[in-house]
């Protein structure tokens, strides 16, 4: 048996406007987690809201895990009130992670994060660096306030391409626009993507046209997070045809080749 963590103490709570990052003491999860996996967090000790909320693992250091999120509803608003010393009940690590390159290579891995989609990519970037992979992070948002981790990632020495729709930081425009012009120059070996659906869809098309292996971390409202309720499905191309496939169990990371974007019905 595994996958359960006793409620762990919040060690640190960082805030950038609507964006928050919690560091939680959770050794059982931290010791097993791989980039791309997620945890289910209880946001209330009562039953309103009822369900746990899924969060990508943002960082793991052996005993502590970090989750990074934007306040978008009732659940994240409650979680944003957690103070250091309080406890968070986490379930995980859940799902399948990103696939990692087998051997050090010259071709770079490009990581594309839109807004809070940067969450799983930070953990991935650190792992890739340990594997001696060249990493370039594309980080886009509406304004500079949506890129709260830009400074930190730069300080850690990651090669960054920042974009904002209003031009308040980095390239002015969509992250997909910059990616389209940069891809031919950078000649990467693979793409890892997490962000809004429209962004991921556009990048999936690019990667197919190129062609370039690409993996996407998908998001959906989840009931359980461990495969029993079938609430979080996405249409995925399987051997038997397009099937509604559980993001929590068969994902949350899927290859761009199998994700069906156009129609969900």
């Amino acid at each position: 048996m595994g996958l359960l963590e006793k409620p762990g103490q919040v060690v640190e709570h960082e805030t950038w406007g609507d964006y928050h990052r919690l560091t939680v003491f959770a050794p059982a999860i931290a010791s097993k987690a791989r980039p791309g996996q997620f945890v289910m967090a209880r946001v209330s000790s009562h039953y309103d809201p009822l369900l746990r909320r899924p969060f990508s693992l943002h960082d793991c250091d052996g005993e502590k895990v970090k989750i990074f999120f934007k306040v978008i509803g009732q659940g994240t608003a409650l979680l944003a009130q957690k103070k250091p010393g309080e406890e968070v009940d986490l379930l995980g690590p859940l799902g399948n992670g990103f696939s990692l390159p087998a051997a050090p290579g010259a071709a770079a891995s490009i990581l594309v994060g839109g807004g809070r989609g940067i969450a799983p990519l930070r953990f991935l970037a650190q792992k890739l660096r340990k594997l001696e992979q060249k990493v370039i992070i594309f980080y886009g948002g509406k304004t500079r306030h949506d890129l709260p981790l830009a400074q930190e990632l730069a300080a850690e020495g990651f090669e960054l391409r920042l974009t904002t729709e209003d031009g308040s930081l980095g390239f002015k425009g969509l992250v997909t626009e910059l990616l389209a012009t940069e891809l031919p120059k950078l000649k990467p070996g693979r793409l890892y993507v997490c962000g809004p659906e429209a962004m991921m869809h556009r990048i999936a098309e690019m990667s197919k046209a190129y062609p370039l292996p690409a993996e996407f971390s998908l998001e959906a409202r989840m009931g359980c997070g461990f495969g029993v309720c079938y609430g979080c499905v996405w249409p995925i191309q399987r051997t038997s045809g397009v099937e509604f496939t559980r993001i929590c169990q068969e994902g949350p990371v899927f290859s761009g080749e199998v994700i069906v974007w156009e129609k969900k019905s």
Partner: protein, 304 residues
């Protein structure tokens, strides 16, 4: 020592807690979290004869203390269940109950006939809330006549006990429960989810692609409790109660109004060990209230 055993007549359970269908996968998904041997019984996800695609997403919406789901009974179908799931459940002695679905009355019968030879299956739970494709999508659960017909047919082909799972979305659940009993059902379970919907005022759209879904969780507990009480008053066969049970005390309430056993569903989604925790909490309740046999609680509601 508290005696937790639960005798349904046709089936003897180690304790009165049954993992409900639709929130427990096919059992295998729960292996990392709990020992299936600890449960009274478990009901696997509803099975049609063939694999079923289910509803398009989004399939879930929250309500205050509740969950609205419109999964659409996505499932692997009977053959894949027999081939790939059942062999891996053989090692457990806990009674396995299969939730049986059908788009027609004949399909219920076909699923049962296909499963009959499987010795590990202890009973069938008849999911009479499935839309019937030949009757404008109306499900058998909505009328006493249709319930009687499908239970009667299931009884004729079944070599195992039948538990009929009742829908709360009816005007008179007692008449439907009585129809199931008269048709030979060994027990009834209730309540299934309550038909509901959710709207996003920002987008002005339904939150579920299916528009409607079934409400479960603590939000429905008071209504489910009342339904179980009403049905238990009138039926001779055992009633398995449930609806929003999150704790041992919730379970005790269902026993007191007349349930012989309880089903735990939505609680498992939030806490995969909920069923086991609830068993322990029922035991704690019995100890602290000097109850020697949990079966003594059934129907123990004091009314004067």
């Amino acid at each position: 020592m508290t005696d937790l055993t639960c005798d349904l007549g046709f089936l003897r359970l180690r304790n009165p807690v049954i993992a409900a269908s639709g929130t427990f996968g096919y059992g295998l998904e729960m292996e990392p979290y709990l020992d299936l041997e600890a449960l009274g019984a478990y009901v696997v996800k509803g099975l049609y004869l063939h694999p079923r695609r289910g509803n398009p997403p989004p399939r879930l919406a929250e309500a205050p203390s509740g969950l609205i789901n419109a999964i659409g009974l996505q499932g692997i179908g009977v053959e894949a269940f027999i081939l790939s799931v059942l062999p891996r459940l053989q090692k457990y002695r806990t009674p396995l109950i299969v939730n049986v679905c059908g788009e027609t009355e004949e399909e219920y019968a076909a699923v049962i006939e296909r499963l009959n030879p499987e010795k590990i299956i202890a009973a069938y739970e008849l999911n009479i809330s499935c839309p019937n494709v030949k009757q404008n999508g109306l499900c058998p659960a909505l009328s006493a006549e249709a319930t009687y017909r499908v239970v009667k047919l299931a009884k004729r082909v079944s070599q195992k006990p039948i538990i009929t799972k009742l829908s709360p979305n009816v005007t008179d659940i007692v008449s439907i429960a009585l129809a199931a009993e008269e048709a030979g059902s060994e027990a009834v379970s209730l309540s299934n989810t309550f038909l509901a919907m959710a709207v996003d005022p920002e987008t002005r759209r339904p939150r579920l692609a299916n528009i409607f879904g079934g409400l479960s969780g603590p939000a429905i507990k008071p209504i489910a409790l009342r339904l179980v009480f009403q049905v238990a008053q009138r039926l001779k066969i055992p009633v398995i109660g449930g609806g929003g049970i999150m704790s041992g005390r919730d379970a005790v309430e269902f026993l007191l109004v007349g349930a012989k056993a309880v089903q735990v569903g939505t609680a498992t989604l939030i806490d995969p060990q909920a069923t086991v925790r609830i068993i322990n909490e029922i035991r704690d309740y019995c100890v602290s209230h000097q109850v020697e046999r949990v079966s003594d609680l059934s129907g123990g509601l004091i009314l004067e």
